[in-house]
Amino acid sequence: MTSLKQMFSTQTRRMASLSPWIYRINAGSCNGCDVECATTALIPRYDVERLGCQYCGSPRHADIVLITGPLTARVKDSVLRVYDEVPEPKVTVAVGVCPISGGIFRDSYAVLAPLSKYLPVDVNIPGCAPRPQAIIEGIAQAIAIWRERL
């Protein structure tokens, strides 16, 4: 019985590792990075689904979280609440310079960047906005980290 359970567990892990789902949180972004994230999924030229990824609509289905924006004071509580709904193990990716350092909004009274003060970030993708291929590169690194955690 235990071996059957174990086999089921390893098989599901193996299957899950092939298709990490992506969830995107906008933490007060200017929409530039969100457009680039959408580009990776919607434009056949970039096509992030080759890596087995799919953008999903609910945080409860997600494995990899992409966070854009400098974490404005107004959106902070909502972002943390949505982030907590993503089940473990999860990999957090900061897209753009805003969540990493604050970028152009650094030291603003309305901005709480860097994001790593509030959440455990795993991969950074700097850029303003990052190139779609750079986002795919970061997602590929996130998938490698996620497979280790699984």
Partner: protein, 167 residues
Amino acid sequence: MNFIKNLMQNLVRGPSTVSYPFGPAWTPDKFRGRVAFKLASCTGCRACEQVCAPGAIRFDKTPEGLRFMMWHNSCVFCGLCEHYCPTDAIQQTTDWHLAHAVEDEFTMAIREVIAYVNCSACGAKTLSSAPNPVGVNPPFSAEEIEQQRNLCPGCRKKALAERGATS
């Protein structure tokens, strides 16, 4: 029947998807990417620090000299530093491979020191920065730039006057 034409075209052209990260990715020649710094050309004028909108470029004084620091995780690729650099010491490359694990966050930076030297003419302590050749007529040769590098501002002015240059 338009779809048959499209189908045929797609069969001939192949998929439009760029194979990156499994293969190379095409980058435009004028792409504004990661900033590169050339210490030998830097005059230490700090114009780039002044114009850097997100504050990614910083200069600070250390016992060894004037330290140039630039953090890629704050750079927005606006290109102002490149535009205002009088000697093209700071330039943007077409490199966009910047994604990194968060442990490497603070190694994603340029840290270079313009060292202090003693002036080769008067012996005073000065920065061994490149001279600013803008407006100097006739322009500096490579040897003259190397000579000027180790002179203090006063001796540079004198050398420039003796050379008969207008600056």
